[in-house]
């Protein structure tokens, strides 16, 4: 009677089902990861773990795909783990786990510049190399930072694109994020300098701020076009702004007459590029970014690079040199247009 007590039966059922869940997970896991002794092809013991800001984010799925390609090329073991949502501390357990497993390199886009710092330092002191990409931490918490673009590069590509589209003369305006957005303000200052020095026939009518809000950016675009009837082009150095402006233009009489360019993502801009509202826009190629970060990780692990001035070869991307602050620059921003936009999904 004691053993068929319902309470005992239920407790046993809970225990049993839980152990089944556990066992199921055990058998389904990839046992190769972290197994330092396995030597497959050349350099088969380079284990690289990618930790994106959060899982299920198309941008990081794209960049980590590039990373996976690179890791396979040099015969290492690739893994991607990360938190469900991008909170400052969410990556810490995953960093700790990677360090415990003796992973050779962590490639991380930091959710917070300081929160993962201690964990990364612990990992580095345990011998794990740390590469940050996309979003850096404080410089002492990583070995190198793979930088997607410099302010100069971004400013230059945006001015070049608009100059090309309007025939290097006429009135333009800028639709920015908020008035105190650090990145955008730096880029706008550089754009003004570039315009004054190299494009004397282009007149910048003004800068308006859409606050990175879709509706505000939409309204500001409408106001710009009414205020400056001779406007020939708009630069929007923010992904929210350019998408809202494109939506306005595509439905208005200005479609195809007023050029629009700036920084955008392929998913947001695809329909506007296809219907002719936008000819081209720029960003970096996240797949290349992940690819380069993986090669940087390998170069750190095999000792090819250890600090500023060292160079390494990153597969199909060619040679790169570590800059003064431990950063590696991916290159010039990537220009998306009708011919290549369908290769990208983020």
């Amino acid at each position: 009677m004691k053993w068929n007590s319902p309470r005992f039966a239920a407790a046993a059922a809970v225990a049993l089902s839980a152990s089944l869940v556990l066992a199921g997970c055990g058998s389904g896991s990839s046992s190769t990861a972290g197994d330092g002794s396995s030597t497959g092809g050349g350099g088969g013991d380079t284990t690289v773990t990618f930790i994106p800001k959060n899982l299920g984010n198309p941008y990081f799925d794209t960049s980590d795909k590039g990373g996976e390609t690179a890791v396979k090329e040099f015969g290492g073991t690739y893994a991607q783990v990360g938190p469900q949502t991008a909170t400052p501390d969410g990556q810490v357990p995953f960093i700790n786990t990677a360090a415990q497993q003796g992973i050779k390199a962590i490639v991380i886009s930091a959710d917070d510049a300081s929160a993962p710092c201690d964990a990364l330092k612990q990992a580095m002191s345990a011998g794990t190399k740390v590469v940050t990409f996309d979003s850096d931490t404080s410089a002492d918490c990583r070995n190198v930072f793979v930088n997607q673009a410099t302010a100069d590069g971004i400013a230059k590509v945006e001015v070049d694109m608009i100059a090309k589209q309007i025939g290097d003369s006429g009135e333009i305006a800028i639709l920015s994020a908020s008035a105190n957005a650090t990145n955008q303000n730096a880029w706008i200052a550089l754009m003004k300098k570039d315009l004054a020095a190299n494009h004397p026939n282009i007149k910048l009518d003004g800068v308006v701020y859409g606050n990175d809000d879709d509706q505000t950016s939409f309204d500001k675009t409408s106001a710009l076009l009414q205020q400056y009837p001779n406007l020939k082009g708009i630069i929007s150095p923010t992904t929210v702004g350019i998408a809202a402006a494109a939506r306005y233009l595509s439905k208005s009489q200005y479609k195809g007459k007023v050029a629009l360019t700036g920084l955008g993502t392929p998913d947001q801009m695809r329909s506007f590029v296809k219907d002719g509202t936008v000819q081209e826009f720029a960003l970096w190629n996240p797949e290349d970014l992940g690819y380069l970060a993986a090669y940087a990780a390998q170069a750190l692990v095999d000792g090819t690079i250890s600090g500023p001035g060292d160079s390494f070869k990153a597969g199909k991307l060619g040679n790169y040199t570590v800059g003064g602050d431990g950063s590696i620059l991916l290159g010039k921003p990537f220009v998306f247009d009708k011919s290549n936009i369908d290769q990208f999904h983020f």
């Binding site: 007590s5 407790a11 059922a13 839980a18 990360g82 909170t87 501390d89 995953f94 929160a115």
Partner: protein, 360 residues
């Protein structure tokens, strides 16, 4: 506590109808502790790197805020109320402490003391609104969840605070001696002992259970229902604030989104630990085992390169199973009780299980 063998009392207290050893061994808490042990032993032997020295350290560091906040949360839920604002209180406390140290040159103890006072005030507001104004705790604490987070945003805007004093950061990250236990285990054990004492061995604690079973009956049997609830919310606030200071020092970062979503992890752990969401049932040992079980599972799954999506699914399934098992248990018990009564020749009075709150 007495072991009753007289058949006359059998229908009065169903749970006391069995001998002591059965009551001690065959209950939900024991099942939870057993499950924890099974999971730990399994992971220790089967999961690569789980047996490493650092596993337990990281596990406890990760679960420390949840362990802390689960203590008062257990008592709050046993009274049949809830406190959803704990993670926002934690965030506010981290922001206040960080701001005072960073911008106003406070020492850590002074800043932490201010943060604890903020925690008391946060709990006081919840407590007054729930206990004295008589508003539903779900609504009140959803409101204060947003309110306390909003105050934190107002205080620091979009910037992040870091650069806490190094020796305090080191203290938080230190081990006890050369063991794999972090130092934070000491306050956790002390607080857990105090809360266990309060809940299980004092008249106040009996009152907490009575309120959960029947607040009106508790009131008429001399329990100060309002004061009890107020005290619990204040305890919840102050412990959350303490966890906030720990959080700040561990991650050296206070943001507007520090600790977002932790409240649901705390509540999930408490429910997994066998506390009834309707109040009146549960104990602290079960809850501690529940929190640690979540920790062991997440840690073991992470070490097997499992993504956070699968980890959340596993914990979610476990939680649902545990709730189902409780429900099933009650169903089966009441059916068995009825069968036993009908098969007996002498008709027994039908009051039986009514003395225990049965959820269905």
């Amino acid at each position: 506590m007495t072991t009753t063998t007289a058949p006359a009392t059998e229908t009065t207290y169903a749970a006391y109808a069995r001998p002591l050893w059965q009551r001690l061994l065959l209950n939900r808490t024991t099942a939870m502790v057993a499950l924890l042990v099974v999971a730990y032993v399994y992971a220790y032997n089967q999961v690569p790197f789980f047996s490493g020295k650092l596993t337990l350290y990281f596990l406890l560091m990760d679960m420390a805020p949840i362990l802390l906040m689960a203590l008062p949360m257990t008592l709050v839920i046993v009274t049949g109320e809830i406190d959803l604002s704990v993670a926002s209180t934690l965030g506010l406390s981290a922001v206040v402490t960080g701001l005072l140290i960073h911008d106003h040159g406070f020492s850590l103890p002074a800043a932490a003391l201010v943060a604890l006072v903020v925690g008391v005030l946060a709990g006081l507001l919840n407590g007054v609104l729930v206990a004295y104004v008589g508003l539903p705790s779900l609504a009140v604490t959803i409101g204060t969840l947003a309110l306390y987070r909003g105050i934190a945003v107002g205080l620091i805007g979009t910037k992040a605070i870091s650069g806490m004093p190094a020796h305090w950061k080191d203290l938080v990250n230190r081990h006890i001696g050369t063991s794999s236990y972090p130092l934070v285990v000491i306050p956790i054990v002390v607080l857990a002992a105090l809360f266990a004492l309060l809940l299980h061995l004092t008249p106040f604690g009996r009152g907490v259970y009575e309120i959960g079973l029947n607040a009106e009956a508790a009131h008429f049997s001399g329990v100060d229902v309002r004061r009890t609830k107020l005290v619990l919310y204040v305890l919840s606030g102050v412990v959350s604030a303490f966890a906030g200071v720990f959080y700040l020092l561990r991650f050296d970062s206070a943001n507007t989104d520090t600790g977002t979503g932790l409240e649901l992890q705390v509540i999930a752990a408490v429910l997994l630990g066998g506390v009834s969401i309707f109040g009146g049932r549960g104990d602290l040992i079960g809850v501690l085992a529940g929190v640690l079980l979540i920790g062991v599972l997440s840690s073991a799954l992470r070490l097997q390169q499992t993504g956070s999506d699968v980890i959340e699914i596993v914990i979610g399934v476990l939680l649902v199973l545990s709730v189902i098992s409780t429900q099933l248990l009650d169903r089966v018990r009441s059916v068995r009780g009825r069968l036993r009564r009908t098969t007996r020749s002498a008709p027994a009075p039908e009051v039986g299980d009514g003395s225990r709150k049965v959820m269905s």
